[in-house]
Symmetry: D2
Subunit: 341 residues, 4 copies
């Protein structure tokens, strides 16, 4: 059976597992006060081209989003996001559970535009009753988005400027950041992101780690008193070094990008395979998530040899499906799937 | 100067003030444990045609919505509402501040349809990841809506059935309930509302009281442990009898409806005046809120003799405006305004 | 029947009621944007001897405490308070409901000492795991305390200094502030309080108003974005002028202090009456709350002519009771009660 | 250098690591819907002697406590706990951040007595103002406690009865549960705990796992809608099988108890070593945490060869210290430490 359901179906990249094994009997202080964590932070700062700022390691994505958003917003503020944003749809109300509104804006292909943000904020403060409304306190974007799309450098520059004009931070959910950076044709680098976002996170769970997300605050003081907040959110790992060791491994040499490049290569093979056999793209994604329209009988037959997700309810004749590759997806797996089309 | 900005610009109906004066030196137990409050509850139950259930008095609308919603939802649940709902737009995130998401659904003229609710709920539970999403835990509607529109009896029956099918309560925000009941042509009575909603409130602030909202839970056990929750929300008035006395007065005889009928008569005069002079309705409302398109120069000239609200940002040639009547609006005020058109 | 249960059993001082009547048909903007509210703020600032700062009017005490504390604390912070503090015992967890811990410290007679605060804070930051603990973010005191006791000027100066040293605000719950200011022998004035506290509130509910509490932030910027927070907490009154008019009346001339002085005179008569008949003080309070030990048979006989509160569960032979006076308590009421001893 | 600071300084027991390696390339569904997780649940149910009930796997202790407490309490309720309880002191206000009060009761050696709980609850409901107070909604105990002490079977039976009488659940924090079960002389078994508690968790982080805590709800329906709540709390691991595999390994055969028995053996050797050299116990603990009074010069000299925690601020002559053993502590490490005394 082939599996293209998601990028969190396997454990970790073997190099990550090996380092966890090698370090297993080391005794280190808990809660991230160990040298692996220190080193991982240094490596990430370097990869980001940052000299100031802070790196924090948390366990999972929903937790990271809720904790960062709680750390950035005042009580009267909400977070601007696309209606399709993960925080709005698939995090069980974690943001609202900390008391903050997700203010949804019109979006396209999972992407918010700077113009939409500017218009909302300017309209907001023109409203004479704005003090009865939830103030826009930050912007949340994901890159890649939940629909596998990417911002261009120009778009990010524009969004960054819009946020700076409004005096609110720009936060990027990078659950699949590496796949965005490795995508063919993107003009956005990690250093660009570190320059243009106030806070972002580099996902580990979906890109070769067992778990873990690296939050990067690109300037000191953006996430004040964040350590107690991480603890309060239940997001502080006792054996914090597990996060340090994994990110240390991923960011020593080029492993993180190697992992992501494999997924992209395999995703492009998938796309080529499907489109060459005449299947229509549901969304044209340059990332490790691929979306196709499939006739229902083809879905039924493919499901005998592979697992993957319906992207929405089954249609009458055809249904969009999502197939996801990762660091471990092999050419022969893609070939086998495509051969059944 | 004439004032048509809103229905909370004056104090209370003189009969309410008189009763507050007459009872001022009485000494009664605090927190609503007095005989006026008891009597007011009895009168409201009677007006609603209820034999079971509970009545609670709170101070203001935002507070009432947040407290009732907090009382009806479990932690993993959110409230379904129109995007234009007061709780979604003009309550400063009070619902989210208690940890709950406002799940916005498509609406028309401020109204949700039972069909929309049914579709959302059925789609929700078909989603295999629904446990990662905020469960629909109740439906919020307002009557009249924020746009001055009304549900028909058929629509309410249908919504009530949809909620019962889903096993979730239907809650009606009745900040201006009386104006809805007094509207010409409505087929919805207070008893219908008490029969079809699980919880609703009868607004006092905008209909003749100094302040105060009467929450009606139409069956015992719907709002369990509501008294400590009211206290926790800071919504319990020490001199609770002030609420009791006001609602006792409003619901002794027909005062509450008399008040509302005057506002409706004056609103219909306004509508007639404006339309007879050729101004277009922005929304066709049968309630005490009237919405017209006005040319910008007419707005400017009217503003010399009257205050009223722009309903949205000023347009290039014309702008919608809102004019609101209340229990105290007089025919001569309406005439004077109309004479300036 | 005589009533000494509490100071919120009657309506408002007649002068307050008269002003509410006189202004009843005025039409003013809502939410406190009216001239009465403006004037009341000015009068209170003057009474406090403040030239900078802000005044806000809220409806009730629990609401005021929760909103102010929420406005002063960051998410990782809690409020230091006596274990007997109203926020810790009798506000149904309103502070925790906004996400903040009430950190209870040892106290005496309802009072916290600056020394206790200093020791706690210094111990806290010596603890190497302090980032796993709730940071002390402010100090809450009440004056008079829940036990009718008062801080001396020296004690307040010391507490104010302790807070300044720690860089955290000092907040005073003044639900019965006027009774503290009018107490015989106190050396604390309203101007002292305005000088020594960062934020405090002047209670209206228990001192002659129908309801209402005036929050005084003694410097600009202490309560940032407080207006949306007040709205979010459901603490913003639509007819905000009702609060303005009441405080305008109380602080025009010397009415507020006159009201409180009457209560104190009557309380001292009570104390004299009880002690001269041989009854022991349970707490020696200089305020309008008086606490006595009474034999159980005396309680039973008094309860035939008067209502008052047991202060704790009935004992085997004797029980402490509380008797409260207010602006309306008359000498003949006190005399009648004492004559039954 | 020797390390006796805590039981979370190393990685996982080698058998756990080996299973994580062996299963690393398996592809399984996420979020705990895999067969390892299923099997781990089955094994834990069996070890607990349960036929009904539910098992959930979360990542860490603070997260587990906050999520379970949030799942068990209604909004108006708080959790009864010892003042020394981990949730009250060292979880950064995570319980309050979800809106609930930790109601602290007098305790002894970290233990609550059933009598204390009974008295509090009975006193609470005798208070006529109890609806203004936070209702006692559950009892939290830890076993072993934060001070390394243990409940006896009689004490647990009594506490369980007290909770049942009050109609509130008993929850046990078992961060170090295995060390309590393996302690010499305890008469409490895992099956007793499963019989007497409503909900408890079996800690993994401190007893041989990389991370992970197994929440056991001993009857169906105790933790309703817990899965979305776990997600909302950011406590759901994408690669949920990592938790399943670890607990599957720990509860296949007797590994979990073997691990804990080693820690206890080594702890008892430590105790014997210290006391035989004349050092006084600070707390007499039968668990893997040992507490001694040490002269300050002895602390200084030991710190040259070993790390361990001061248990409170340094005293003038002597200071209590804590030394902790775990599954990997070796006899020669203990011997070396003791030889330096």
């Amino acid at each position: 059976m082939l599996h293209f359901d998601s990028d969190y179906m396997r454990g970790a990249h073997p190099a990550v597992m090996q380092r966890l094994m090698e370090t297993n009997l080391e005794q280190t202080p808990g809660y991230g006060a160990d040298c692996h964590t220190e080193n991982a932070k240094r490596l990430i700062m370097k990869a980001c081209g940052l000299t100031g700022g802070e790196v924090y390691f948390l366990v999972g994505g929903t937790q990271t989003n809720a904790t960062v958003i709680d750390g950035l917003l005042s009580r009267h503020e909400g977070v601007l996001a696309a209606g399709t944003a993960h925080i709005n749809v698939h995090e069980a109300g974690a943001v609202e559970a900390t008391g903050h509104k997700v203010i949804t804006l019109p979006s396209s292909g999972g992407k918010l535009s700077a113009e939409t943000v500017r218009q909302y904020i300017s309209g907001f403060y023109k409203d004479t009753t704005y003090e009865h409304m939830v103030a826009p306190g930050m912007v949340y974007i994901s890159h890649p988005t939940e629909l596998g799309t990417l911002y261009t450098l120009n778009e990010l520059e524009d969004m960054s400027t819009a946020c700076a004009e409004a005096g609110i931070p720009l936060y990027m959910d990078g659950a699949r950041l590496g796949y965005g950076l490795a995508a063919y044709g993107t003009d956005v680098t990690l250093k660009d992101i570190a320059r243009l976002c106030d806070v972002f996170y580099i996902g580990g769970t979906k890109t070769g780690a067992l778990f873990g997300e690296a939050v990067v605050a690109t300037r000191k003081g953006l996430l004040r008193h964040f350590t107690p907040l991480v603890k309060q959110h239940g997001a502080m790992l006792a054996k914090g070094r597990l996060l340090g060791i994994q990110f240390e491994t991923l960011f020593s040499g080029d492993l993180y990008m190697d992992i992501c490049r494999n997924a992209i290569r395999m995703a492009m093979k998938l796309k080529e395979g499907f489109t060459s056999k005449g299947y229509e793209l549901y969304i044209d994604s340059p990332t490790n998530q691929q979306f196709f329209w499939l006739p229902d009988e083809k879905i039924d037959s493919l499901m005998r040899i592979a697992t993957f997700e319906m992207w929405g309810p089954r249609g009458e004749n055809r249904t969009p499906v999502r197939l996801v590759t990762d660091w471990a997806t092999r050419q022969d797996e893609v070939d086998e799937l495509v051969s059944h089309l």
